[in-house]
């Protein structure tokens, strides 16, 4: 079934090419089907070599790749159904479908790609096509979000390119292997962290994320926050020398970065009022948590076999849940029927995200415990516990906002609703399939205080509404960006005040040159040779030249 692998990327591409055909509006829904098939059917750890393609292509699936392909394809399919139904007949709907399929192709392709170039190809395709998804709405806010996204994504891609070139030089080939990655120099690792860090929303590279994910239409937000954001972790797991050699300094750095991300995203998320922004900050926080875990893995190679699997499980859980939350929010906004069910589903997903017992969250948390236990600093466990508390609070805040959301019911959300239901089922079945009963309980120690805290906050704001107003919306989405924007404005002002000077200088120079040219060419001087035709002059020249010649000959 290896032949399925090329189809994983080609099929959505073909779909993108066919989108302009009017009758094929349903294409986005079926784009990820070959990927789903490949995830289930393709043999593990064997690869398809296409030496003539690009700089030598190798496609294949390993354990981690299969997990990624599975949840990514699932999420894209559900989101695709949502997108196809939502965009049908809409203005620019087909343009959206094209970019949706292109991004899908890139996302799936980089999972099955086993070489650096194809990974980068998928990454770049996904990154650029997402721009089309982010600015789809066309409002000034969308465009701003798109601009911020594109600039940061390009920085990330360029850094990733440099990192990949360095890695390729280190490996001597474009197909990475764990042994080959041993001894990777600091520059490569740094660039790799930087390049993928943008996509992962690692603080301080995250400001684009709370802007861009909410700006996109719901289906796109779901895949952006659910599937695409996870790609960074896949890249790190594949390209860092994990399990080969200890890199304690880098481990510490990543741990710190993860903590900072957590510490920044959760509080800022809590004071947001747009449910999509809340979800986006929650994604940033989750990525922070994963980065923290990655730091532990990097520092301690012995944890690798267990840790990678745990991270895979956690990522899959988060992708499905976060995707489900976004899609559910979309249904909450637009679906005309079955709103209680939608709310119940959202509640379930929020609980799962908070790690409530019997949910996927509990299983994922349980799997990741050994990593946490081996963390370098003992207080990290405390910090993580606090973050879990904050997550619970954040989800409560999300539900609160989602319930009170302003609704615009539209017809035609039956099929997406059903698909969402299916996704919910998968999330619900997650612990049953993948976790031992012992793990079902999870860690209620943070959940219950969290819920209590949330209730407390609710009471407080009911009593003193001014208290809520003092906090809510005090920090704009994209937090750090607000600090940078004035800098840009100053630079612009500076340039605006300098530009006339420069322009005037250039014009002066050009005018002076033109004057010179005119003086030389436009007013011919009276013939200076008239003099040479006067007989006395001729005679003098004749004599002088004769004398000179004579002297020269006799000298």
């Amino acid at each position: 079934m290896l032949w399925l692998l090329p189809l994983v990327g080609l099929w959505p591409l073909l779909g993108a090419a066919l989108v302009p055909v009017q009758r094929l509006w349903w294409l986005p829904a079926f784009g990820a089907l070959p990927a789903l098939a490949a995830a289930l059917l393709a043999p593990l750890d064997s690869s398809l070599e296409l030496p003539w393609l690009l700089l030598g292509t190798r496609l294949g699936l390993d354990e981690l790749g299969r997990v990624y392909l599975l949840f990514t394809a699932l999420l894209w399919t559900v989101a695709g159904i949502h997108a196809a139904c939502e965009m049908r007949g809409q203005r620019h709907g087909r343009r959206f479908a094209i970019f949706f399929l292109l991004a899908m192709s890139g996302n799936l392709w980089l999972i099955v790609a086993q070489d650096l170039v194809n990974f980068y190809l998928g990454f770049a395709l996904m990154g650029l096509a997402s721009y089309g998804l982010v600015i789809h709405g066309g409002t000034p806010a969308n465009l701003r979000a798109g601009r911020v996204y594109l600039v940061m994504a390009l920085f990330g891609e360029v850094a990733l390119f440099a990192a990949l070139v360095l890695i390729a030089q280190h490996l001597g080939t474009v197909a990475p292997s764990p042994e080959g990655l041993a001894g990777l120099d600091d520059l490569s690792i740094g660039l790799l962290l930087l390049g993928l860090g943008v996509k992962a929303g690692m603080a301080p590279l995250h400001p684009w994320l709370p802007l861009a994910h909410p700006a996109a239409p719901i289906a796109a937000s779901a895949v952006l926050s659910g599937a695409m954001i996870k790609v960074a972790l896949l890249g790190w797991l594949r390209l860092l020398p994990i399990g080969v050699e200890p890199l304690p300094e880098w481990g510490t750095l990543l741990t710190t970065a993860g903590l900072v991300t957590l510490g920044l995203a959760l509080p800022v998320g809590l004071v947001q009022s747009d449910p999509k922004v809340i979800l986006a900050y929650s994604s940033v926080a989750k990525m922070g948590f994963l980065i923290l875990m990655l730091g532990a893995l990097l520092a301690e190679p012995a944890l690798a076999p267990l840790g990678v699997a745990a991270l895979g499980l956690y990522v899959a859980h988060h992708a499905l849940v976060k995707g489900g939350l976004f899609l559910g929010l979309g249904l909450r906004k637009s679906a005309s029927r079955a709103q209680p069910l939608v709310l119940a589903g959202l509640g379930l997903l929020a609980l799962a995200l908070a790690g409530a017992p019997l949910t996927s969250g509990a299983v994922a948390k349980d799997a990741i415990k050994p990593l946490l236990a081996s963390a370098q600093w003992p207080w990290i466990a405390t910090a993580v516990g606090l973050s879990a508390l904050a997550t619970t609070l954040l989800m409560a805040r999300f539900l609160w906002v989602a319930i009170r959301i302003e609704r615009h019911p539209l017809p035609g959300y039956g099929v997406p609703g059903a698909a969402w239901g299916l996704l919910l089922g998968l999330v619900a079945a997650f612990p049953l399939v993948l976790g031992a009963p012992a793990s079902w309980v999870g860690d209620p120690a943070t959940l219950i205080p969290g819920v209590l805290l949330a209730l407390g906050v609710l009471m407080l704001t009911r009593l003193w509404p001014a208290l809520a107003r003092a906090f809510i919306n005090r920090i704009p989405p994209g937090d750090l960006l607000a600090l940078i924007t004035p800098l840009g404005r100053w630079a612009q002002a500076l340039w605006r005040s300098l530009a006339p000077w420069l322009r005037a200088g250039r014009q002066d120079l050009a005018a002076a040159l033109a004057r010179l040219a005119r003086a030389l060419f436009e007013h011919p001087a009276p013939d200076p040779e008239r003099l040479l035709r006067h007989w006395p002059v001729i005679g003098t020249l004749w004599l002088a030249m004769g004398a000179l010649l004579l002297i020269a000959f006799l000298a």
């Binding site: 393609l53 700089l55 030598g56 390729a168 030089q169």
Partner: protein, 498 residues
């Protein structure tokens, strides 16, 4: 004269003879002129096919003509010449089709196509030149043949642009001439030799060799538009689109870059040039040009001007590749000779289509052109993304190998240049794509042409950019396949670094 020596001559004549014949064709004889054009282009392509096959199998093709004592006109085909010859032959064919479509209804067609063919003959001559004097001869001929093309429109602007072009190139030509003669007076008459032929000169000539390199580089740098010798290029944008395409992708700019490659590899020898400390100079100039060209491109509103500054920047990748010691960087630089050519010609074709079909000349007028001309805009997008270095388009391959080569040579700063350049490229290309695809189209285009075929514009204008855009894609996608530009360049590198 044997068959083997006839082939290079025939390749030059295959465009020279139709070119001269076209001058004599009456203005109204569209058919005859078109026939001559296409016959020449197709013959050349066929001959180049034979040449590729022969050179791949190690055959030697060489023709010699003594001009004076110590001065020989040598035409010979090595792998490097084949690279350039096949690029020009292929793109000439496409450009001819495009030019026929573009200039169908404009005046002075016989003059235009005559010089057009002469221009290609000179370019091919540059590619096949087997020693420095021959190179100089064809290099100057190229200047002469392109001048009428730049001035073709006959507007005061065009004449002015052509004058500036000439002032730059002829001054460069003089520097090149003096450098070439000086070199010959030191080394005696020599053919281009893989690995260079100067390394056994005595140490006493060190200073002279550095000065000569500077002179030659100044001469070549004018056409290759190295900063600060690039001033002519944006000015010559007044020429008709096919000329800009040819100038930027194949003929003039490439001739300079190709000359730099010859100079570094086959005259000085890359190791000897490195030992003289010349590569640093070249690398610094190339890097400066890459960044400066991109920065200037950012500020241009004229589409062709923006593309012109982009050329300034992109062509220096070739020089950059030549300035890094090691086979991988060589590959990166050389393959960009082809890749930049097909990408830039696509962009210029598209710019020509916008101008000819819609009267759109400025970036600020491009809102929504993607909806009116989707296929052209698709081709444009491919070219632009390739320039940025997005895989799987050709430009990515060049950048990848340049980066690899730089690391191999411990020149990590090149990575920074590449990264900055990619970002700047994105900064001036992506806004165009954004306008074209996402902005709403205006109610009326500046000057919409009444001629329109079955598609968005005439077929002769539409197919060439689509074909070259397909080349861009294929050159990247099939980079590792046999006879791809990359594979051919690897062959050259293998022969250069034994």
């Amino acid at each position: 004269m044997t068959l083997a020596s006839l082939l290079p001559v025939a390749i030059i004549l295959s465009s020279l003879i139709p070119g001269l014949a076209i001058f004599l064709v009456r203005e109204e004889s569209h058919l005859l002129r078109g026939l001559l054009n296409m016959a020449g282009a197709l013959t050349k392509l066929a001959l180049v096919g034979v040449l590729i096959w022969g050179v791949y199998h190690g055959h030697v093709y060489e023709a010699r003509l003594a001009l004076a004592p110590g001065l020989e006109l040598v035409l010979s085909a090595d792998a490097l010449s084949v690279l350039f010859v096949s690029l020009s032959a292929l793109l000439w064919l496409v450009t001819t089709v495009y030019a026929i479509g573009y200039l169908e209804h404009s005046p002075n067609r016989s003059r235009f196509f005559g010089f057009f063919s002469l221009c290609v003959s000179a370019t091919v001559g540059i590619a096949l030149a087997g020693n420095l004097p021959s190179f100089v001869i064809f290099y100057e001929l190229l200047t002469l043949a392109t001048y009428p093309l730049v001035a073709h429109r006959g507007t005061p602007d065009a004449v002015r642009g052509a004058r500036i072009y000439l002032a730059y190139t002829l001054s460069g030509g003089v520097a090149l001439l003096i450098g070439a003669i000086w070199l010959q007076s030191l080394s005696g008459p020599q053919d281009f030799t893989q690995g260079g032929y100067l390394s056994n000169l005595s140490e006493a000539h060190r200073g002279a060799l550095i000065a000569i390199f500077a002179l030659l580089l100044a001469g070549l740098g004018v056409k290759a538009a190295l900063v600060p010798l690039h001033g002519w290029l944006p000015q010559s944008m007044v020429a008709p689109a096919p000329v800009s395409a040819l100038l930027h992708a194949v003929a003039v700019v490439k001739a300079g870059a190709f000359g730099i490659v010859r100079l570094v590899y086959d005259v000085y020898g890359v190791e000897f040039a490195h030992a003289l400390g010349l590569l640093g100079l070249l690398g610094a100039l190339a890097s400066l040009t890459i960044l400066y060209g991109s920065l200037r491109a950012l500020a241009q509103d004229g589409l062709k001007k923006r593309l012109a500054y982009s050329t300034v920047s992109q062509v220096s990748y070739i020089a950059l590749g030549a300035s890094i010691l090691g086979p991988v960087a060589t590959i990166g630089g050389l393959v960009h000779l082809v890749h930049q050519g097909i990408m830039k010609i696509t962009l210029f074709f598209c710019a020509g289509n916008y101008a000819e079909t819609l009267g759109v000349h400025r970036v600020s007028e491009m809102d929504g052109v993607g909806q009116r001309m989707p296929l052209t805009t698709l081709a444009f997008s491919l070219g632009a993304l390739g320039m940025i270095g997005i895989p799987p388009i050709a430009g990515f391959v060049s950048k990848w190998y340049l980066g690899l080569g730089a690391i191999e040579a411990q020149a990590h700063w090149v990575l920074l240049i590449l990264a900055l350049s990619s970002l700047l490229n994105a900064a001036y290309f992506l806004p165009i794509l954004y306008r074209a695809w996402f902005r709403p189209a205006p109610a009326a285009w500046p000057e919409e042409s009444p001629r329109r075929g079955r598609f968005e514009t005439q077929g002769a204008l539409l197919w060439p950019p689509l074909i070259t855009a397909a080349f861009c894609l294929l050159a990247g996608l099939l980079a590792a396949a046999p006879f791809s530009p990359l594979e051919w360049v690897e062959l050259i590198a293998r022969r250069e670094y034994p």
